[in-house]
């Protein structure tokens, strides 16, 4: 249920029916220092929205309703504008993520190289589907669109690095190392 609160209200509460951080969230001192550096790069505050949200991901792991609220405050923007931005982009997680995030490319070059098969294999091995996290919180799995690693198809992004020329064996090895 969405309560229609004024977007200009100073501290609106919007219940998105989503999970939230259990306790209050606040920026660390390190984050506040980085924030100042981020704002200094742009001619206006609004342009810093994407980097501030990246900072929030680093700080809190995911963008919860509470995190949206403190990001909106820092940026001086209405909460619903921040919600629109967060939900438009695919890389801001809106739920707690596993320790490791496996993103396998499903687009045409990887598909031609057998990505659909590898995706099924991964899902079987992890026991989860796209968009899910294993019960032990170790892995999150997503199927994503073109990672632009087509020359090394099939490819995936494992946390913050790219792995290409995937096979079932190399996938086993990568997962085993984690």
């Amino acid at each position: 249920m969405i309560e229609h609160t004024s977007i200009r209200e100073s501290s609106p509460t919007i219940d998105y029916g989503m999970v939230d951080h259990p306790g209050p969230v606040s920026w660390s001192d390190a984050a506040r220092r980085d924030m100042a550096a981020i704002f200094a790069r742009y001619p206006d505050k609004r342009s810093a929205t994407l980097p501030i949200l990246w900072l929030a991901v680093r700080e809190f792991g995911w963008i919860s309703p509470q995190v949206e609220k403190i990001a909106a405050e820092i940026l001086g923007r209405p909460l619903n504008e921040i919600h629109i931005v967060v939900t438009f982009y695919t890389m801001y997680p809106r739920r707690p993520m596993g320790q490791h995030h496996i993103q396998i490319c499903r687009n045409v070059s990887c598909w031609l190289a057998g990505a659909a098969d590898l995706s099924r294999y991964l899902q079987q091995r992890l026991g989860i589907g796209p968009g899910e996290t294993t019960a032990d919180g170790k892995f999150s799995f997503s199927e994503v669109e073109c990672l632009c690693y087509c020359e090394c198809a099939p490819a995936m992004r494992l946390d913050n690095r790219y792995v290409g020329n995937l096979t079932k064996t190399s996938i086993d090895q990568l997962i085993g190392e984690k």
Partner: protein
């Protein structure tokens, strides 16, 4: 074979300033600063350097559209939001030769008299972001960027801006919206970014690869650079070749290299010696070609004459074993997922195209589905704010038209299913209270 922007790939630590400098980085700056901005722009126009992000607009002409008398600051925005399926080139420059890109940015900023540049890099590109940021820090420390550029009375600051996962942000006005901290909804043009771009200030948006060739235009001179390519398509460019070929990879080749040569010589032919079935010449938005259409020079104008496009030069090869119906599903699923939702024909059209091709593959195809796909696609084309709509519709039209019997056969296989009653709409039925 001559290489320019990929020349330093494979050299150890090529992304660091000392190694890059020993291989020529920043050696073209003096020559550029010796020219007036107008002369430099004229030189780039003469070089026939095209916009290599995909649109192919002459780079120098784009620069010349900036208003001469605006009191507002001017910006250069570098498009590193690589995302066109089948394209994997810009990241190679950003990873291996970020100083070449920075040199291209400095020269371009001198030409357009801009003191601030943003490099918008796609969110997934951790290593390119890392290397470009490191390179900027090193360049600042060495006096190449900052209040003066190598002793010249010209200030320049470069900021890396990381995207967050949205293909549409590769479209230049969506990219500007995103840079301004909004969702990436393309803007209606005009005004063009040259007049009202970032923060409504005059802005030039150029692709990473385009800017990386600028130092070579200065080094070689416009005419020798132009002569490397074909008519009105100057220089070289990076071709990403993927799919069912023996040696997929990124190849830097002269503009106008024949497609057949790329597939059979450079990529060493179709996997397993199988027959070629189809080729996408310029990223998944480009209309597909059949084997009898591959004797074509790979440049913007030659491909446009044949009803397709060079786009981002992402060549995707399909062999005889690939089902084009399944391939189209993979392609259209992408567009349905990435449609920004702003324009109705694109938002609804791509979703319906995906639904229809999926039901055909689930043996639920209905008579008329094939024509319906064509009709929906034609209703998208030309009816949207940005080129995404055309990019989604064109591959559908070309694939369905050229491989129509395959689509018809799938629909026929599914016909028993279509005799089931079609589910009625919820009219008159009780609706659960919300």
């Amino acid at each position: 074979m001559l290489k320019l922007v990929t020349k330093n790939v494979g050299i150890e630590n090529s992304h660091t300033l000392s190694v890059a400098r020993s291989h020529g980085a920043y050696s073209r700056l003096e020559a550029a600063f010796a020219m007036t901005p107008e002369a430099l722009t004229a030189e780039v126009i003469k070089s026939n350097l095209r916009g290599l992000g995909g649109a192919g607009f002459p780079a120098g002409r784009k620069w010349s559209f900036l208003p001469k008398d605006s009191p507002k600051p001017r910006y250069l925005v570098v498009n590193g939001d690589e995302g066109e399926p089948g394209t994997c080139k810009d990241k190679i420059i950003m990873i291996h030769d970020p100083h070449l890109l920075i040199e291209g940015i400095i020269i371009t900023c001198w030409a357009i008299q801009s003191h601030k540049a943003f490099i918008y890099i796609r969110g997934e590109y951790d290593l390119p972001v890392e290397h470009v940021e490191q390179a900027i820090v090193e360049a600042k420390a060495a006096g190449i960027l900052g209040e003066t550029v190598m002793g010249h009375d010209f200030a320049l600051d470069i900021v890396v801006h990381r995207g967050a996962g949205a293909y549409i942000c590769g479209e230049e006005t969506a990219l500007l919206e995103s840079l301004e901290g909004k969702r990436g909804w393309p803007r209606l043009k005009p005004p063009f970014p040259a007049v009202e771009g970032y923060m409504r200030c005059p802005t030039v948006v150029n692709n990473v690869e385009t800017l990386s060739y600028v130092p070579y235009v200065v080094e070689m001179g416009a005419q020798p650079f132009a002569d490397l390519g074909s008519e009105r398509n100057g220089g070289l460019r990076m071709y990403s070749i993927s799919g069912r070929v023996n040696r997929p990879g990124v190849y830097e080749l002269p503009m106008g290299t024949p497609l057949r040569e790329m597939i059979y010589d450079h990529a060493q032919g179709v996997t397993g010696g199988r027959a070629l079935k189809a080729v996408i010449p310029g990223g998944s938005s480009a209309p597909i070609l059949t084997p009898d259409e591959i004797d074509v020079p790979m440049d913007f104008d030659s491909l446009a004459k044949r009803g397709t496009m060079l786009g981002s030069a992402g060549v995707i090869v399909f062999d005889e074993t690939v089902s084009m119906v399944e391939a189209l599903k993979v392609i259209i699923r992408f567009y349905a997922h990435e449609s920004c939702g702003q324009c109705t024909p694109c938002r609804e059209g791509t979703a319906w195209l995906e639904k229809i091709v999926e039901r055909i593959l689930d043996l639920g195809g209905r008579p008329g589905d094939v024509d319906n796909m064509l009709r929906i696609s034609r209703n998208i084309m030309g009816n949207t704010i940005c080129p995404f709509g055309d990019g989604a519709a064109l591959p559908v039209v070309s694939c369905v038209t050229k491989f129509r019997p395959e689509f018809e056969a799938w629909v026929r296989r599914g016909q028993p299913v279509t005799t089931l009653p079609v589910r009625e709409a919820h009219i008159g039925e009780p609706v659960a209270a919300v």
